[in-house]
Symmetry: C2
Subunit: 279 residues, 2 copies
């Protein structure tokens, strides 16, 4: 496993880097960002993975997420993957919510997506192993978060790896993709027509089917234009209530779906993760 350093910058006492590598999971070159806090000079630090939303690359949250100051203060590494395979020879769609930039954190089984769109394997296996091998992080102390489609990714990845992630949060996540237009478009395209094959990638369905986490933090803006049609946090609340999962769902008055919302609550989320990862 080798990685190429695209750029590094000292930031808030740590190092923000962008890296590139040849991915076996996606069959192409993937780019990701890692922030290493100053505490990493003294030994492995806890690591939080941030999964991004539709249309994003690793760069959106790196530029606009405002995570470095809090991560440096808390001693957290932050890993930011891309949202899909990209490039020539990789299938795509003209729509913003399918294809490149819209991997939905699944391993596609259907044409034309199956050869490259294996973001589930990428974010749950290949990238964590690469990061653990190349950076001073402690794989025993991992947290995961994400925004929108990436919030869906964070919840489903954590629900299916209950021993691995000690802390889980999300910003305006898609909590029940099977029940909303984004998922109802992407899941048949990537996973085929049988809804039974979608349940492993739907947080609410996973909870209904028995998956458990001790606790989850979710922030959701009340002025988010996707709130009623695509996000539906009440469905997650109902599933968690029934399953005994301690969901902290905070409705943030007047915030929209943008990085202005994410950055406003990023420090809160990282503090939440740090409290659970540093024990």
């Amino acid at each position: 496993m080798t990685i190429e350093t695209v750029e590094t910058h000292k930031a808030h006492g740590g190092v923000q880097g962008v890296y590139r590598h040849r991915s076996a999971a996606t069959g192409g070159t993937m780019t990701f960002a890692v922030f290493m806090p100053p505490q990493a000079a003294a030994g492995p630090v806890p690591v939080v993975t941030y999964l991004s939303g539709l249309t994003c690359t690793h760069a959106n949250v790196m530029d606009k997420g405002e995570y470095r100051k809090a991560a440096a203060a808390l001693g957290l590494a932050v890993v930011c993957p891309d949202t899909s395979p990209r490039g020539e020879g990789v299938a795509n769609d003209d729509a913003y919510d399918l294809g490149q930039g819209a991997g939905f954190y699944v391993d596609a089984t259907e044409a034309p997506w199956a050869p490259h769109f294996n973001m589930w394997t990428y974010v749950t296996a290949e990238l964590p192993a690469l990061v653990a091998a190349q950076f001073a992080v402690d794989p025993a102390r991992q947290g995961i978060t994400g925004h929108s489609m990436g919030g869906h990714g964070a919840l489903t990845v954590a629900l299916r790896h209950p021993g691995r992630y000690r802390s889980v949060s999300a910003f305006a996540p898609i909590v029940a993709p099977m029940q909303v237009p984004w998922g109802q478009k992407a899941f048949p395209a990537y996973l085929g027509a049988d809804p039974a094959r979608w349940r492993g990638h739907d947080a609410v369905a996973l909870i209904e089917d028995g998956a458990r986490l001790p606790e989850i933090l979710v922030d959701q803006g009340t002025a988010d234009s996707f709130l009623d049609g695509q996000l539906k946090p009440d469905l997650l609340q109902a599933a968690c209530d029934k399953a005994g999962i301690a969901l902290t769902l905070r409705l943030q008055d007047g915030y929209d779906h943008s990085y202005h919302f994410i950055s406003s609550f990023m420090a809160d989320h990282l503090a939440w993760h740090a409290a659970r990862l540093k024990g």
Copy 2:
């Protein structure tokens, strides 16, 4: 004076907006960003103007500057203008350091720049009046800062308006444009061949010619690739020492010229401004 709202987002309890207006100074449409902190709901707040560097628009610092959290906590408005006139009919140059994106905060007297490149008048007169008329800011409590070319702008604007700006700082400023390649290219193009006409736009020359400020804060990264060739903070230090200006020049180990440097010290700068503006 009317402005058009391009977008607004709730952020860190305040409002980040982008606005557009017809500018008399530049003879075209100008875009700028304003962050209003939550304290503005209770009455006018102090205002800090941030002038950006070469190639930037209002958006670079808005996206990457990480100023909102500190500004919201301190109760400061932050105004971020563009760096030049833009658009069809506005002169330009293929180089990144002349023309659109490189206004150098002067009023051009030379062809082809003179009709639109009047950023001095724009940032010292037109925009402050517009902001004072349209936003809940207190013009008696103004500070100014900037990066690189914008640091040059902040220093020269403040030196020539000693009663107006109660606080002045800069990130990696061009302190003596007459003595470095960027200025030696831009000043003849915009202001003509006579160096006597450049001195009013050179911080070191202004101080040599008698301009005074009580104090200035400057941060400069030691890994900045422009440090030796274009920035030369030692020239500002020498001029301030001779003139009795209290310059706090901090050499920040390992930081480069990017927004990773700016964002790392933004909260420090805003706290510096707030301490001088809130009295």
